[in-house]
């Protein structure tokens, strides 16, 4: 907008001076160090992701007991968290499933609340991934189930509904 004049200025780069000219470690060395550190946390990851899934299951159980929009919002948030953590913890399929569940609720919470069986199916799939230790994103059975989840979600929402920005 013409009436929204932009003043542009460059603050002094204090960080450049702070890091100085001494080179850091080789990037490959840093990557290797991170891989080692993260692999040492593997047992923690396993425990954390199971806790996350347990929390999600508790929320879904609460939603079965009473239709509460706040609980549904919590489930959406938990699905988003699992999306964010799954791959980090070595389960990229959980990232995909978390993403699908988050999208399913985000697209239309009312539709999601009327289709708890679809929410259950996402959670069941996540449970399967952990119980079977499915870490391969390309696992054929898993991909088949994910396709089924997408189809079910699409059918519930109808194909003409636009995705909301919320």
């Amino acid at each position: 907008m013409a009436d929204d004049k932009a003043n542009v200025f460059q603050p002094p780069n204090m960080l450049r001076a702070k890091v100085g000219n001494k080179p850091g470690p080789n990037l490959d060395q840093m990557v290797a160090a991170a891989q080692t550190a993260l692999s040492e946390m593997k047992e923690d990851f396993e425990s954390w992701i199971r806790d996350d899934l347990l929390s999600l299951k508790e929320s879904v159980a609460a939603l079965h007991r009473a239709a509460d929009p706040a609980v549904l919002a919590r489930i959406k948030m938990q699905a988003h968290e699992i999306k964010g953590q799954g791959a980090t913890y070595g389960y990229p399929l959980l990232t995909t499933a978390g993403d699908l569940l988050h999208l399913f609720i985000d697209k239309n919470p009312e539709v999601a609340a009327q289709n708890l069986d679809i929410i259950d199916a996402h959670v069941d799939f996540m449970t399967l991934v952990l119980s079977q230790g499915l870490r391969d994103q390309g696992d054929a059975m898993a991909q088949g189930i994910l396709t089924g989840l997408q189809t079910a979600a699409k059918k519930a929402h109808g194909t003409t509904t636009a995705r909301s920005a919320g």
Partner: protein, 162 residues
């Protein structure tokens, strides 16, 4: 040649404490040791008055204050300790509308989860080596949202300052 990030101080804000461990492991691998963590953005904002991080890494999806609320506080809050501090937003939201929303709030860099050392290092390196200018308009305050500048542009939205 990589940058020696060891002298930097970094504040990590994420309400998922497990992510603190993940980010710490990655930052430590870059030799960054001066790190503080907060699981509450409002508390982190208060802490910035006592401790002045060089860079903030914040998650988006947090409660009660989310990552973008936190960025608004830092950038535009009347009592902000440092409106210019570089901010990297961690997010699972990768849809374009979300990225634009984050950009328009004043983050320097956006980092999609899952994070890796290379992706985080590249964001920090960009902040240190090629900091973008700041822009102040009636509706926006933060790093320049343009990744390239057309110096031949003569239209009404021509900026002052260049």
């Amino acid at each position: 040649m990589t940058i020696n990030l060891e002298p930097l101080s970094i504040l990590v804000v994420d309400d998922n404490k497990h992510m603190h461990s993940v980010v710490k492991a990655i930052l430590n691998s870059m030799r960054v040791k001066n790190i503080r963590f907060s699981d509450n953005a409002a508390v982190a904002f208060m802490e910035m008055r006592q401790w002045h991080p060089d860079i903030i890494i914040t998650d988006w999806a947090m409660q009660p204050l989310d990552g973008l609320d936190f960025v608004r506080l830092v950038r535009k809050g009347a009592d902000s300790p440092n409106p210019y501090v570089p901010i990297i937003l961690l997010t699972g939201h990768t849809e374009m509308c979300r990225v634009i929303e984050a950009r328009d709030t004043g983050v320097n860099e956006i980092l999609a989860k899952p994070i890796s050392l290379k992706s985080l290092y590249s964001r920090i390196a960009a902040i240190v080596q090629s900091p973008r200018p700041f822009v102040k308009t009636k509706h926006y305050f933060g790093p320049c949202r343009r990744r390239s500048v057309n110096i031949n542009y003569k239209g009404p939205e021509r900026r002052t300052g260049f």
